[in-house]
């Protein structure tokens, strides 16, 4: 993978702080990054702070980055169970001239304009179509409950508490993912596999 391009991408995101998206490197591993984006204004997601797991394959940027919401989101095109995203530019419409920044901005745009006809989460999509007020209420509720900077940094603290024990950041992330954020369970799991 072209590390030079990733460095340039990160530099560009750093430079343009107003965009409302950012990317953070997880230690030395350039295959696993964390993205952050602010909920778009005048939507149920306004004021929310969303965390996105990013995985890059060796062929990046010729294949799309793999992205998934770590923050729970109520949205027709995002799985309410595991954060999987249905977005064309993350699949066949990807172009190597696109970047992590443009991809995160597209996620922001997706939050602003859902496409219930191409749903990832059928339950949410049907609610979106049949009961718009209820959908808006639920989405706002989830945003207030889950999409907070506190949780995001707590999440970061959890990772830190594991890495401080000497485990690499990537292993910490994987373990936390599999235990749904339970630090003790994650540590036990890591210790067992040692």
């Amino acid at each position: 993978m072209d590390a030079g391009r990733i460095q340039k991408e990160l530099k560009e995101i750093e430079r343009d702080k107003k965009s409302g998206v950012s990317v953070q490197l997880n230690g030395d591993n350039i295959h696993r990054l964390t993205g952050f984006l602010e909920g778009p204004k005048d939507t149920a997601y306004q004021g929310g702070y969303f965390v996105v797991d990013i995985k890059l394959e060796d062929q990046y940027p010729f294949v799309p980055p793999k992205m998934r919401f770590r923050t729970k989101v109520w949205h027709p095109n995002i799985s309410s169970a595991n954060g999987a995203i249905c977005l064309d530019i993350l699949k066949d419409q990807w172009s190597p001239a696109l970047t992590l920044k443009t991809a995160l901005l597209s996620l922001q745009a997706l939050l602003a304009s859902p496409e219930p006809d191409d749903p990832q989460d059928g339950v949410v999509a049907s609610q979106y179509i049949k009961n718009q007020p209820l959908f808006q209420r639920t989405a706002r509720q989830w945003t207030e409950q889950y999409a907070t900077r506190e949780l995001a940094s707590q999440d970061d603290e959890k990772v830190l508490s594991i890495t401080s024990m000497g485990f690499p950041r990537e292993m910490a992330l994987t373990a936390l993912e599999s235990t749904h954020g339970d630090v003790n369970a994650a540590i036990n799991k890591l210790l067992e596999s040692c």
Binding site: D2, G4, R5, K8, Q59, P61, F62, V63, I89, Q93, S95, P96, A97, L98
Partner: protein, 646 residues
């Protein structure tokens, strides 16, 4: 386009002349090696990888010239139109802009000066513009990024053939020349392969030969329909152009598909049948079938029996109605006192049994066909040479043995599929009142049985009899024997005795090959025309019409045969009234006999013999030229009667 058959014919004819390969007589069908029996013959040609590339290039050149476009553009247009040059012209001239838009052809954009630096939109590094590449849209990227883009797309599969500019929202097609310019040899080769595959796979008239390792394709020389079309590749494998299964005419593709699915569904129940051994019906010792012929003899007790029905071979042919009948399926007789449950169980058992009957015969003929194929190869590789010395005859004159094997191979294939046909054509239990169905089944099974009987005989003669003969020759070798008194050479191979034995065998085998072929021609005809139509033809045609139809053909044959073979002369000499008299005698017999189907079988038989100009003894298989005689000139066997013991 108007569907005018005359136009169609001339179109095909001129098309054929355009193809260099066909001038070499390079059609898939070769009467010398493949005794093709099907009536409807397919026009097609076999193309090697090289020929395919040439053909693809021809299409490209044609489109480039007519539309004045680049090769890269021509590839796109042709791919879009499934490599149909006519369709390209139609779509292009109907709405050029719409078509160009749809497939991403853009006008070449000005490049400007190469003597400045620009940032590559993928790696964000700076490059001299002259070192960068772009599709005609002129969105430049550095060579390294192009390479990564193209390689990833090639690894992703044939979709790379529709590759577009990497810039989001630019739909310009990436020309093949650019793809090959930036890719390494391994990826380039893969790209060319995709391109050739698209030429064959998108093209309605082309199909790859499905034989493993074969890289030829078959091209239909006419509009393709979705009917079965058997073709034979240069590699020797035959397949159906329409459904890609092995060649299966005269049976249609639908039946084949159903049958194959059925077989895989029933395969567990049938595993035991696939076992290679069966107990001898007399001494119960296991016997392995290692030759193609169904006439078995137990190595222990010497009992001779039929592998299919396990009946003794002597009785075979006369037990019911005087003809070979182990192809017939007699469904189990139902007794009246079954309760519902056992009736259901009985029904399931009967229907599985019925299926197994057909399956077993299908599978056995399939296996026998493979055996015949390897026997033919073996004969070609060594047996003929050995034989050539024993009978002082050049191998070129022993080709009739290979012809006989080829006939066995082809007949086994047809016979095999007639069992799939029979399974679907006639239901589990045809009610007694459905006389038409019963008659059709009887008619079909008789002809199938006749064909099968001759095939078994042919297989036995070319296999066992020939082997026995060779063994005999081996026991009295003496290619050059030294007499006790000095150096007198006795040439056993060309002795009159041996030559007589050999010439008798030769005549028998050639005759048997021909008779077998004719029986299969009949069977195929029957299935392709439809049993109901054929039976209707035999039973309902008014005499005058029947005669009118027969006579002109017979006359023209007679006129045309200035130097006809004896068989042709015989055909011409065959009594013109035969059909008429047969039909009227049949009508009479119909009233008297309650076995109409069996009767029409004899009719069918005489007709076949009249066509051939001889009848063959069912006991000793000698050819009898006298069509009026009723007993064999060699062994006095009755022409139609049960086979008498020797």
């Amino acid at each position: 386009m108007e569907d005018d058959s005359d136009y169609e014919d001339s179109y095909v004819a001129s098309d054929v002349e355009d193809y260099p390969t066909s001038e070499d007589g390079d059609y898939g069908y070769d009467p010398q090696t493949e005794p093709e029996i099907s009536m409807r013959r397919a026009a097609y040609t076999v193309l090697s990888e090289e020929e395919l590339k040439l053909r693809q290039q021809e299409a490209l050149q044609q489109v480039m010239q007519v539309l004045s476009i680049s090769e890269g553009e021509a590839v796109r247009v042709l791919r879009h139109c499934k490599w149909d040059v006519n369709r390209v012209n139609e779509e292009w001239f109907a709405d050029t802009e719409a078509l160009r838009d749809k497939i991403g052809l853009v006008d070449e954009q000005p490049t400007g000066s190469g003597r400045r630096k620009e940032s590559c939109g993928i790696c964000f590094d700076e490059f001299w513009v002259s070192e960068m590449h772009a599709a005609p849209c002129n969105h430049s990227f550095c060579r390294g990024c192009w390479k990564g883009y193209v390689h990833t797309a090639i690894s992703g599969g044939p979709a790379v053939l529709s590759l577009r500019c990497p810039l989001p929202d630019c739909s310009a097609a990436v020309p093949a020349a650019l793809v090959t310019a930036v890719s390494d040899p391994k990826h380039r080769e893969k790209y060319h392969l995709y391109s050739l595959r698209s030429f064959v796979e998108d093209n309605q008239r082309l199909e790859w030969c499905p034989a493993p390792g074969c890289e030829n394709a078959v091209e239909a020389l006419h509009e393709v329909s979705n009917e079965a079309m058997d073709v034979t590749c240069r590699c020797g494998s035959s397949f159906c152009f329409n459904c890609k299964e092995e060649a299966h005419r005269p049976v249609d593709c639908e039946t084949v598909k159903k049958w194959i699915i059925k077989n895989s569904a029933e395969s567990e129940n049938l595993n035991w049948i696939l076992a290679n051994t069966k107990p001898c019906p007399k001494c119960k010792r296991p016997i392995e079938k290692n030759q193609g012929c169904m006439h078995m003899s137990c190595s222990q007790c010497k009992h001779e029996f039929c592998w299919l029905c396990l009946a003794s071979w002597q009785e075979h042919g006369e037990r019911t109605g005087g003809f070979y009948n182990c192809n017939k399926y007699e469904s189990a007789k139902k007794r009246g006192d079954y309760d519902a449950e056992s009736l259901k169980r009985e029904h399931a058992r009967v229907s599985l049994q019925r299926y197994m009957h057909y399956y077993q015969r299908w599978a056995e003929n399939d296996r026998a066909r493979s055996q015949a194929l390897s026997s033919k190869a073996e004969a070609n590789d060594k047996k003929l040479e050995v034989l050539s010395e024993f009978v002082a005859t050049p191998t070129s004159q022993l080709k009739f043995i290979l012809d006989a094997w080829a006939q066995v191979v082809e007949c086994r294939r047809i016979l095999k599929w007639t069992y799939a046909y029979g399974y679907y054509r006639f239901g589990d239990n045809i009610p007694d009142e459905d006389t038409a169905q019963k008659q059709q089944q009887g008619f079909f099974e008789f002809n199938q049985g006749q064909a099968e009987m001759f095939l078994e005989k042919l297989n036995g003669v070319v296999e066992k009899d020939l082997d026995n003969l060779v063994e005999e020759f081996k026991r009295e070798p003496g290619l050059s024997e030294v007499a006790p008194d000095g150096s007198v050479f006795v040439d056993q191979a060309s002795s009159p005795e041996r030559q007589a034995v050999w010439s008798k065998f030769r005549e028998q085998l050639i005759g048997l090959t021909e008779v077998t072929r004719m029986h299969f021609v009949k069977l195929v005809q029957e299935l392709e025309k439809g049993l109901d139509q054929l039976l209707a033809f035999y039973s309902e045609q008014p005499e005058a019409e029947a005669e009118a139809e027969v006579e002109p053909a017979a006359v023209s044959t007679a006129e045309a045969s200035g130097s006809a073979t004896p068989a042709q002369q015989a055909t011409a000499k065959a009594p013109k009234r035969s059909k008429r008299s047969r039909i009227s005698s049949r009508a009479a017999a119909d009233k008297a006999s309650n076995s109409a189907a069996a009767f029409s079988l004899q009719e069918a038989d005489s007709e076949l013999e009249a066509e051939a100009g001889y009848w063959q003894c069912r006991r000793c298989t000698v050819i009898n030229r006298d069509l009026n005689s009723q007993s064999c000139s060699m062994c006095a066997q009755n022409r139609r009667g049960p086979i008498s013991a020797s």
